[in-house]
Amino acid sequence: MLSTTRQSPKTIDAAFEKARLEKKGLTALFVLDSEMPESIFDKLTDIGFTGEKPSQQLHDSILTEYRVRGDRKLKELEEKALAMKVPFKTIIREGDFISECLDVIAEEELEVVIITRKKRSTLSRFIFGSALAEISSKADCEMLIIDE
């Protein structure tokens, strides 16, 4: 499970290694996290009092950039999969990280989910919550958590 802010090389290596050893296919999901562009949109309109059009243009521009980065990352992984002879599938989604992950887990009937735990303080996790904890509690499959 990858996203705009979650692309740890350690997690990617662990996923490929597991797939190679267990001779399984790998599905890479890249979520274009819409939370950041949406918060910028809100900030521009609520605090900056900017009109809807320039705010929307900026929102679209940020998402386009995230999509380019997502495509580039997935292409890089595809090449790696080819070299390691691991069956590989890519999915790119736009939206909230948690709900997109849960949707793909259900749709693709994934056996194991490999995901990065970002470096954050306990206080930050307590206040802002943890996407990983929420996915773990709701997903009906094994979770492999790799610390960043």
Binding site: I40, I47, G48, F49, E52, S61, R69
Partner: protein
Amino acid sequence: MNVSIDRRPLWAILLVRSFRYLALGAFFGITYLVAHMTPPEGLSQEGLRSAAVFGLSLVLWVTHLLPLAITGLLAIVLIAVMEVLPAKDAYALFGNEAIFFILGALILASAVLKTGLSSRLALMVLTLFGSSPAYLLFGIFITSALLSFWMPEHAVAAMMFPIVIEIARGLELRPLKSSYGKALFIALAWGAIIGGVATFLGGARNPLAIAILKETTGKSIGFFEWMLAVVPIVLILLVVAFTIITFFCRIETESFDRARELISEKKIKLGRATLEEWMTGFIMASTIILWMFFSHTLGLANIAILSVVSLFVFKLVTWKDVEAYVNWGIILMYGGAICLGSAITKSGAALWAGNIIVGSWASTPAAVIIIFAVLAIFLTEGVSNTAIVAILLPLGISMSDSYNIDPTLVTYSVAVPAGLAFMLPMGTPPTAIALSSGYVRVRDLLLQGIILKVMALFVFIVMTRYYWPLIGIKL
């Protein structure tokens, strides 16, 4: 159907879901109780009621439990309902000249954005500086700053972002890894922020400050007077900020041809300047000249509205365009802020609160000015800079009499530092835009921003002491 079950304890779910209502209920309840208490010595009942409304507005502006504009509306209603000002007077403050000036300036900016004149100007300046990575960095910084002299800084940052992100992509700069990429986005944000304090057009908080000054003291500051006082500070800050950016962010990129190609491709794509762009440019330039040299005789708002009329006469914008580019919430927020400022000053609550908050630390006029500048420059990191002006300026102006300070000096001392939010994304959109690029971390902005903030405060104090007396602004 995918059903997700919330497994948290019921009390936790209820608490999270009702927190906003509980908090709002508590704040309204406290306001009601405070407004009906016996006033402390030195404060009238009317003053206490206006202080209660002020406190509630402050909390709502800081916490964002309600949108800024709605809090502005609420302030007017409460001032009328609590009989601090007669309803007729409270609502009449919406007809303030500053509101119509802001309205006109925003419609003019919408024409500049809509016709593409802003993008053309940005690309023209970038072409001038596109000969090396260091020059390009300076070009982005100075373009953001110069455009923010004449357009809202938030709109400038939003407009510059797609250009800069394409340059970063073209140069294959890696997000979070590239030091040059980081520099490009910090330059975009800081250029817009610093440029935004130079005139009345970069941030509407400046005309708001003038409106509060005029409503409470009858004094005013002209467009040219403001520029004369503030532009030298802006120029020094631009030098300091650029030095900090280049000191912390190494320019590691050498292959630069792609950036040059991108800029010229974008210029070619824009084609030749259209008649609409020329005419919008002419109207904008004429308006600025009129604001600079004839605002005392013709009036800022009158010039702005006549320019807007001419945009429509020549069909340069349609009303639909204006609606897409202008956020009308600004009018509600500013109307409320002016009304609140007027109410707490006239009722004596501002002087009372100012004496409690600042008076105990300040023994000299210079200390009062420094305290307000420090409060404004640091508080603006966490709170909207407009709200900072609305909160601090009435207190400062009320105290100016007892300390024998010119209230225009207090106005500069709150409005200018309030615009200088360099560190956190909460205070102003340009820093949030820089962070969204993925090239800049919060810690980069915190480290470099605190240095720039301290330097900015130092520059501001030195200019207050040595430059402003030369142009007639004395302590």
